[in-house]
Symmetry: D2
Subunit: 341 residues, 4 copies
C-alpha cells in the first residue's frame, strides 16, 4: 500500500515533489504513526530552496513537526496502544550510549539524525517512529495545535531552560518568525514585559506577535531597551541569527544580563565581543529540546495557557504543499500546516 509524500530528492534548489512511497516497516522498538497534521518548518523551506547547512539523505520525506494516531506497535513497545493520540520528537536516530544521551540530552548527541533530513519525515500518511520519541496528546488538544509542539519546544528551551527570565524582567526578541514569536509568547508566560523587533517587511508577523501580549517594534529597539533606568534589558533573544542582530543585542542588554541565541547564520561576525566581557553578559546558545520540555509544552497547550492558534496561517492538503510552502516563505503566514489524509 503506497501513499503520497512530499519528497526532497536532490541538493538543488526546488528539488521537492510529490512521490509515492510504500508503507514503512517498523522495528521492534518502533510504532507506526498515521499522520494527522504536520507543520512546515523553516528548515523544510531551506531544504526546498537548497540554502540549508546540514547533510540530507536524499531522497527524503520532509516534515518533522507532526502528530497523529498509533496504528501499529513493535513487539517490544510498552506503554502505548493502537489508536493513541501522540506527537513525536524529532531525534529519530540517536546513540543511546553517547554521554549526552545518557544524561537525557540526546538532542546534543552529535551522531543524532532527525526526521525530514536524516530519515523519512511526516509529510505523508504513515511514518515510522521509535517509541521513545512519543508523547501523549490529551483529547482536548487538536492535532493542528499539537503538531506545533516542536517549535514551541525550541522556544521553551531557549526561553525557560537556557535563559533566566523572571516576572517583571524586560525581554527583547529579535526576529518575528515562528521561533521568535513563540519565544516572545513564552517570555510573556514567564511574567516578563516583552517587545519583539523586526523589519518593515515583517509587518504582518509583528501584528500576529502582538496577539501574544508583546509590543512590536520596527527597526531599532534602543529606546525601548533603555527606558526606565537606561541600563538595558534583562534578556535579548536573538531569533534572527545574523551578525548585525547580535551586535545590537550587545548594546541593548544590561550589565549582568543575558543574550540567548536561537537563530543561526553561517556568516562571520564583524565586531569584537568586548562588550560581553565588560558588561559581564551571558551569551547562551540554545538548540532543540528533549523529553521534559515536550511534556511541559504539551501541558501548556492542553491547559490553554499557551494558545498557538494565532500563528497558524492555514491548513493545506499534501498535494497543495507548494502553496503552503510559498505562503510561509513569502512571510504571508507565520506557520503553514499540512493535513496528509
Amino acid at each position: 500500500m503506497n501513499s503520497i509524500a512530499v519528497v526532497n530528492f536532490a541538493p538543488k534548489k526546488g528539488s521537492v515533489e510529490i512521490r509515492e512511497i510504500p508503507r514503512p516497516e517498523i522495528g521492534e522498538d518502533d510504532i507506526l504513526l498515521e499522520v494527522a497534521n504536520v507543520g512546515v518548518c523553516g528548515s523544510d523551506l531551506h531544504q526546498w530552496t537548497c540554502d540549508h547547512s546540514w547533510p540530507v539523505n536524499y531522497p527524503v520525506v520532509l516534515g518533522h513537526e507532526f502528530g497523529g494516531h498509533i496504528v501499529e506497535l513493535g513487539k517490544r513497545v510498552e506503554g502505548w496502544n493502537e489508536g493513541d493520540r501522540v506527537v513525536s520528537e524529532t531525534a529519530a536516530v540517536i546513540d543511546m550510549n553517547n554521554p549526552m544521551s545518557r544524561q537525557g540530552l540526546y538532542n546534543l548527541d552529535p551522531t543524532r539524525k532527525g526526521f525530514g533530513y536524516g530519515v523519512n519525515g511526516a509529510m505523508t500518511r504513515f511514518v515510522k517512529v521509535p517509541a521513545r520519541c512519543l508523547h501523549a496528546v490529551p483529547k482536548n488538544l487538536s492535532f493542528e495545535q499539537a503538531c506545533l509542539t516542536e517549535p514551541c519546544s525550541v522556544a521553551y528551551n531557549a526561553v525557560v531552560m537556557n535563559s533566566n527570565i523572571n516576572p517583571g524582567d524586560r525581554v527583547l526578541v529579535i526576529g518575528p518568525g515562528t521561533i521568535g514569536i513563540l519565544c516572545a509568547a513564552i517570555a510573556r508566560l514567564c511574567g516578563a514585559e516583552v517587545a519583539i523587533v523586526g523589519l518593515e517587511t515583517d509587518n504582518t508577523r509583528l501584528e500576529i506577535a502582538k496577539q501574544f501580549g508583546c509590543e512590536a517594534l520596527v527597526g531599532d529597539a534602543y529606546e525601548w531597551a533603555m527606558k526606565y533606568d537606561g541600563l538595558g534589558v534583562d534578556c535579548v533573544i536573538d531569533a534572527a541569527g545574523v551578525s548585525a542582530t547580535l551586535k545590537m543585542a550587545l548594546q541593548w542588554v544590561r550589565p549582568n544580563g543575558q543574550i540567548t541565541k536561537v537563530g543561526w547564520g553561517p556568516k562571520p561576525l564583524d565586531f569584537s565581543l568586548d562588550p560581553l566581557v565588560q558588561k559581564n553578559v551571558r551569551l547562551q546558545g540554545s538548540f532543540s529540546h528533549n523529553w521534559p520540555i515536550w511534556e511541559k509544552v504539551i501541558s501548556l497547550l492542553s491547559s490553554g495557557i499557551l494558545d498557538v492558534r494565532p500563528i497558524i496561517g492555514g491548513v493545506w492538503s499534501l498535494t497543495d504543499w507548494h502553496e503552503a510552502f510559498e505562503q510561509m516563505h513569502s512571510g504571508k503566514v507565520v506557520k503553514s500546516v499540512l493535513k496528509p489524509v
Copy 2:
C-alpha cells in the same frame, strides 16, 4: 609633605615617569592608606605603551593592586582603625544609587572610575581610599601576596562565579598570563583536571603554571580536549581574547558546556557563532569582582589553599619601576610587584 609616584602623564607611548605628588587630603568617608606593596597589572603596561582602550585622566598615578596600613580616617568612617592592615578594591568612584550598585554589582556600574586611570592609584606612598573599598588582611598574610588579591579576584569571578566547574570536570585555559594562570589555579581548587595552553614563546610562564597542578600545552589543545569521550571539555576559559582563541574554544568545548571569556581584544571576530547554538554552549563574559569575591580570595590566600608566590617574579622599589615593567612586559616574569617605602 610630598612623595614620589609613578605617573602616567599623557596619551603617548612611554609617557610614564617618577614625579613628586603631595599627600592626598581625604574626605569624611575615606581613609588614607600607606602603601606596602603594589602589583603591576597588564593594564598599567597598556597605559605605558599607550595601547589601552579606556579613558585616562592624565596625569594619573598608576597602580590598582595594592595593600598597606591605614594612617588616617575620615570622620564618618566606622569599623576601621589606624594601623589596620588592608587591601583595597579598585572601584574608587561609583554611583551608590545606580541599580547595579544597589545589588552589590557596583563593578558593573557604567559610571565607575578606578584607581590608576580614573583617580590616582597606589604606585606612591599614600593613597586616598573610600572606606567601602577596604578588606582586612590577616596578620599571617604578607602584603606581597595580599596585593595580588585583585587579579585573584578577577580569576575567582571568572572561574567560580561566572562558570560552573565541578570536581572531575575538565577545563582548558587559554593564555598563560597572570589572569590565565590564576584561572587555572582556581579551576584546580574546584577539583577540575586543568590544562593551560600557550604559544612556544610562553614557555617560562607555562612552567610556572605547572606549579599550580595543571598540564601545560603548546599550540593546539584539541587532542587533550577530546581524550576520554571525544566530546570536548566541560569549560574553556579564554584569557587571551583574540578572535582565534574563541574560535578554538568553540571546537574544544563539549555540547552543553561553557566558554568563559575574561580576555579582551578590540579586533572583530571572523567566524560564525553557529557552533555555539548547535552545541547549546554558554559563552559568559566575566568582568572584575565585588565585595564577597574579595573576602573569599583573602580567605583562600590566608589559609594557604591558594598560594600565589610562584607567579611573583620580583619586588622592586618605585624608582625601579621601569625594570619591573620591562620584566613583565617581556614575559620574563608573570607578575612584578613594587614596594613604595
Copy 3:
C-alpha cells in the same frame, strides 16, 4: 507639631491605642515621609494580640507597609527631592558593614531592626526613613496599591528568588492569607498551574484567591497534586507554617521538587524528614526581601501585570484602626489599609 499614631505600648494583649507623637527629627542620611497609605500586616495583628515571637521596643508606632511623599531631606541625601512619591523598605536599621549587608542581603543581617517593632512605623502622619530604603512610585500607581509592595516582595522573594518555577509547572500554595494569595498570584505570573488550599473557614479568602487565576481547594490537595502522572507537584509553598502543613507538603511534592517555607510557627515538628531525603527534595526558607525585589514588584504593580486590588478589603482612617484590625483578624478581609491624613 504633634500627630496621632497607632501605638503598641506594652507586651500585653490589646496594648494598642491612639497616641499623639511629635514630628520626627531626621538625620543627615534620612528623609521625612508624609504617609499616604499604610497596610496592616499579620505581624501588626500579632503584636496587638501579643502572640508575636520577636522583640519589640515599646512603645512603638505600628506599620511597615507604607508609602507617601517626601517632605524633608537630610543634608547628605542625593537623588531624591521634596514631593517625590515613594514607598519604603522595612529594614530601618542595619549594620552596613555586616557581611550580609555588603552582599545586598541586609534583610538577613541579624542586627537589623524594622519599622513597627524596632523603630517607629508608619501608622501616623510623618515617619523618618533612611534614604537607602526608598523606591520611587510611578504616577500611575496609587498609594493604596503601592503600600502593598512589601507583602508582594515577601511573595516575590519566596516564589521567584527562592523557588524555581517554570511555565507549565504545577504549584500548590498552602494558606490563603495575604502572603499565600500573593504567592499564588506570582506563581501564576511565572506561567504555572496553581492551586491554593485552605480550611472551610477560609472560604471568603479562597474566593478572592480565585480572582488571581488559581484553583481553590478545601482541606486535602492530594488528588490535585497527583493528577496527571501521580508523582506530585513541582513546588509546594507553605504559607501556613504549622507542622501539619509541612508534613502534607512532603506528600504532595514530586521527587526532585521543592517546598518553599514562607510561613512561621514556633511549635515543634512531629514527624521525620526522611521523605525529603528519599525524594531528593529542596526545602527552602524564605525571609523578607531586598532592593532588586522591590524594584521588580513596583514594576509589576505599575505595569498592571500584578493587580493587588482584589485583596484590599477596605481603607480606614487611623482613628478607625480597631475596625481595620478586626476585619482582617476575623478573616473578613484579606488586607486592611489605613489612611493617616
Copy 4:
C-alpha cells in the same frame, strides 16, 4: 554450577548466612558480571540487624557496591565486551517510562528496586546486571577502590549536585561514617575549608577523616562555625540524620546558607523550623546518584584526585563476611570490602 553467596533470608535480626545459589540466567539486555570486589554498606548491616526501613525480597543476596569483569552478554547488549572491567550502578529495576527515568533521574523513580534488597546483589561470584547500569573501569584503578564508586557517588550527589560549595567556603559535615567522610573529602575537592564533627566514640573514624584534609571536631562545632565573622558556615552536611543534628545544623549555618541532608532517621523532629525561614536557609535532601555522577566519580578515582584507600579497613573473603560486618558495625573500620573469588 553453584556459588556461595551472603544471603539475607528473613526479616529477623541476624538472618544472614552463606548459601549456595545457581549461576543467574541473564536476559537480552543484561550482562553477567563476575564480581571482583564488593563493599559492605551500612544498609547491608541494617538488613543484618533488621533495623532497616525498606522492603526486602527475602531471601536476597546482599551487596550493591561492586565491580568485576563481564563474562556473558545478552544478545541486545551493545558497546560492551567479554572481559571488560566494570562497576555497576544500583538501580537494578526501573520503569523506563517513568517521568523521572525519562529525565535521567531514574534514581528517583518510586518503582525502582536495587541490588541487595529488591533483587540479588553482589556478595557472590556471579551477578546479573542490566547493561544500562555499567560503567567502564580504567586499568589503573583497582577493583578494591572502584567498588567504592557507589558511596562516593552518594557523597558526590550530596556535595556537588545538591549543594553549592565554592573555593573558600566553610563546610561542616556531621557524622564520620563512610558517607560523612566521603562528603568531607569531596567538599575539600571543591576548595572548601572543611570540618567533620562526631562523638567521642568516633575517634578512629575522625582520625581517618583527617587524612582527607579536614579538621576533626568532637561534640560541639559552634565555635568552629562562628569563627571569622560570627555568622556561621556556608554549608552543613548532615550525614547523621537524627533530630539533634539537624537542630544543631540550623544553629551553625549562616544566613542564606545551606544544609544538605543525606543522613536518614525515622524518628520525629522535636523542634520548629523557624530558623530555616528566618535565615532564608536551603535544606536539601540528597538521595543516591545517576549516570553522569558515576562517570565523574570514576574519573576522580582514576586520576587519583580522590583517593579512597584511607577508608578501606580491610578485604575479606565471602566466608569471612561475619568478621567484615562486625568490624564495620563496631566502628573499628570505616569500610569493609569482600572478595568473592
